[in-house]
């Protein structure tokens, strides 16, 4: 046996820092909570969509050969975090993940319908994907499915593109996220098979991973904002003559929320970097980032609501909005059980390494 070491460097480059600063000011200016509320119940703001498009955010993480700006998953993660911080009502993450997969297909020589790539790249049509399609038969709920013209899915060993004429109707939900039922057997849906065989499975696996990473990033943003809101309230609200942050039952929860945020953030960045640079190394990391962000955002937004006392559960409180968004955004991909199923494949990989360890080492008798 020999040792292998890896770097553990989470720092952002200067350009990435600048990107974050740009995104922070863009989304806080253009997606204040009033915009988010006005966009409900659909969860979409056409003007904000035009703004993100005009600011080049749809093409940032699309390969240069396909007409994008050649940025990668880290840039997508940084964008996702800012989207989450403001609960921005735009389907940017689903759209960009779908664009990245279509760009790979184009690169493989797959023909897309005339003009469809260009209009998607320009944000004139919206794309999405069906993250749970490989598990489901028939109809399934699709994130951004009420906005999308076309949806990527994986059925019977093939990557398919479902396209419909009119828009699908939103399935109403408390988070006011634009999910909708899509059914490949529906008469109003036309289905094109884009890729089959091992290559298709591999491509879908990568697509799923990128979607998990992008979605986890948006949850990191929700975690960050929920933490900020709760901390601000905790030093303002008084009870028994002291600020409520002086009660450890409150401050320790705030610390735990902070731990959830930072670990979710680091795991998402690490998964993004490795998926991009070494996709074969620890392929479970994307599912881990998503599972961590999901469980964190569920429990931490609940704590953030609780810190507000009764005010927390009122519909007009900002924190209750983030609580609603948390579950809707986190669970549209099928929930942590599916992430854990993916993670459990790492058990087999570790079991092989253990066998190698036992072949190399004797063990003291006990």
């Amino acid at each position: 046996m020999t040792t292998t070491l890896r770097r553990n460097d989470y720092t952002l480059s200067d350009e990435q820092d600048q990107l974050v600063a740009m995104l922070r000011s863009l989304f806080s200016e253009k997606s204040p909570i009033s915009v988010v509320r006005d966009a409900e119940p659909l969860g979409f703001d056409a003007q904000l969509w035009a703004t993100v498009r005009d600011n080049g955010l749809l093409t940032i993480s699309v390969p240069a050969e396909a007409g994008g700006d050649g940025g990668g998953l880290i840039e997508l993660v940084l964008t996702g975090i800012e989207i989450g911080r403001t609960a921005a009502p735009v389907p940017l993450l689903d759209h960009v993940v779908a664009l990245r997969t279509l760009a790979r297909l184009k690169d493989e020589g797959v023909e897309l319908a005339e003009g469809s790539w260009e209009s998607a790249l320009a944000g004139e049509t919206i794309l999405s994907l069906a993250p749970i399609s490989s598990w489901e038969l028939g109809a399934e709920l699709v994130p951004s499915g009420a906005l999308a013209k076309s949806v990527l899915a994986f059925k019977d060993g093939s990557v398919i593109l479902m396209t419909r004429e009119g828009l699908a109707e939103q399935a109403p939900n408390e988070g006011c996220t634009p999910v909708a039922w899509w059914d490949p057997t529906d008469a109003s849906v036309s289905v094109t098979t884009l890729l089959s065989g091992d290559q298709a499975a591999e491509l879908w696996e990568l697509t799923r991973r990128e979607w998990r990473i992008a979605t986890a990033a948006s949850l990191v943003g929700i975690l960050a904002m929920a933490g900020e809101i709760a901390r601000a309230y905790s030093v303002e609200r008084q009870a028994f003559g002291v600020r409520i942050a002086q009660f450890q039952a409150i401050s320790h929860d705030l610390v735990d929320m902070h731990m959830d945020e930072l670990t979710s953030r680091n795991m998402t960045l690490k998964a993004a970097w490795l998926t991009e640079h070494e996709p074969d190394f620890r392929p479970e990391l994307a599912a881990m980032a998503m599972a961590q962000a999901t469980r964190s955002v569920l429990r931490s937004t609940a704590k953030a609501v609780h810190v507000h006392g009764g005010m927390g559960i009122t519909l007009e409180a900002d924190i209750s909005l983030f609580y609603r968004k948390a579950a809707a955004w986190a669970l549209v991909g099928g929930g942590t059980r599916r992430d854990l199923e993916e993670i459990s494949k790492a058990v087999d990989r570790r079991a092989i390494e253990r066998t190698r360890w036992h072949e190399t080492h004797e063990l003291a008798k006990r």
Partner: protein, 387 residues
């Protein structure tokens, strides 16, 4: 951002081989040595490392080290992990403090041995009536000219039975003045009146009660000013807590103890995988294929990855709690064998799960309790002190 594999240079590979040979020759991996902040590497390994300047490899060769870098330090951690070996025990926490505050005499006579690791130290902060509230220490040092007389009792003096010196927190003025009347000393453990008796803890580790009865020590052993003890000890304490750990290289971001708890946690998972690989269900299928077992292991692996991503001070409470939760989870997964001890027929991976379940509550206490950590972390978030 960078998570790529490090290409080891020829020298680094040779370093790894030399260390591997040292460990191979002197040690058989032992599942009972998987955490163990309360044990240390065997003497042959320690001596071999002292001779090579590897206890503090990052120090310059003329300062007791070997002039090696972060990579070699990580190779050491990684091999110790592979060999299930307790730490060689270093004096990292104290050397910077002695450099800064130590008397000339200590610097000339003790510091060199601490630097090579030939001499070792233990920490004498806690007492029967004060743990979290360290500034309530009662152990008293009274001055008479150039000599001090020390009387009192310390609790939980881990490693005192191996150590050459104790870094002792003593009261040198009215106790009402709390942290303003504390002074630090480096007291030789072999002085008359110093005595260590064992305390056995859950999981089989040993720590000690230490008694100080009319211990006479010269002023040369004082560290820092009289009544300056609180500020003198703040640096090693913060280091122990993992504050300010910023690495951009290969060192895990999880600070201090959280790192060793995470390594222990990794071994717990490995032990559970060994168990699953060795057991079959009623249909003759490997337990590794059992969906319930896989789910429990996947959750444990997720928690471990979370610990490795918990930076600095967050690392300790997170890893301590994850270790405890997962020791329960895996004992439950492997029930009923999960409760069996080392050396028992049918034990799991030599009893690793049961012993770590026993050990884990301590990780949330020693080196500062998880509540104290959360108090500190809350302050760093800008929150007011508890009322």
């Amino acid at each position: 951002m960078d998570f790529s594999e490090v290409e080891l240079t020829a020298e680094q590979q040779a370093f790894e081989k030399e260390l591997r040979d040292l460990l191979d020759t002197n040690w058989t991996p032992d599942y009972a040595h998987i955490s163990l902040d309360h044990d240390r590497a065997p003497d042959a390994v320690r001596t071999g490392m002292v001779e090579r300047g590897w206890i503090h490899p990052h120090f310059a060769p003329d300062a007791g080290g070997a002039g090696l870098g972060e990579i070699e330090q990580q190779i050491i951690s990684s091999l110790f992990e592979e060999f299930y070996m307790a730490s060689p025990g270093g004096n990292d926490l104290l050397i910077p403090t002695l450099d800064k505050h130590g008397s000339e005499w200590l610097k000339a006579n003790v510091l060199p041995g601490l630097r090579t690791g030939e001499l070792s130290t233990c920490l004498g902060y806690s007492e029967p009536d004060s743990g979290s509230d360290m500034a309530a220490a009662k152990t008293r040092a009274v001055r008479d000219g150039d000599m001090w007389t020390i009387n009192g009792q310390k609790m939980w003096t881990t490693g005192a039975h191996h150590a050459d010196y104790v870094f002792l927190l003593a009261r040198t003025g009215p106790i009402e003045e709390k942290h303003r009347t504390l002074t630090m000393f480096l007291v030789p453990m072999n002085l008359p009146g110093v005595q260590a008796t064992p305390i056995w803890i859950l999981g089989g580790g040993r720590t000690n009660v230490t008694f100080y009865t009319d211990v006479e020590v010269s002023d040369d052993y004082r560290i820092g000013g009289v009544n300056d003890g609180w500020s003198v000890m703040s640096t090693p304490l913060a280091t122990e807590h993992g504050a300010g750990v910023v690495t951009e290289g290969v060192t895990p971001v999880n600070g201090s103890m959280g790192q060793s708890f995470s390594r222990t946690f990794a071994k717990l998972i490995d032990g559970a995988i060994d168990w699953a690989a060795s057991r079959k269900d009623a249909e003759g299928r490997s337990r590794l294929e059992d969906p319930l077992v896989r789910m429990a292991l996947a959750e444990a692996m997720l928690d471990l990855e979370m610990c490795w991503n918990a930076a600095g001070e967050l690392g300790k409470p997170m890893a301590a709690e994850a270790l405890a939760t997962n020791a329960d989870r895996l004992a439950d997964m492997a029930a009923p064998e999960g409760i069996l001890d080392f050396g028992v027929d049918g034990k799991i991976a030599a009893g690793i799960i049961a012993s770590q379940r026993l050990h884990s509550p301590g990780t949330a206490i020693y080196g500062g309790t998880t509540e104290i950590y959360r108090n500190n972390l809350a302050r760093r978030l800008g929150l007011p002190r508890p009322y």
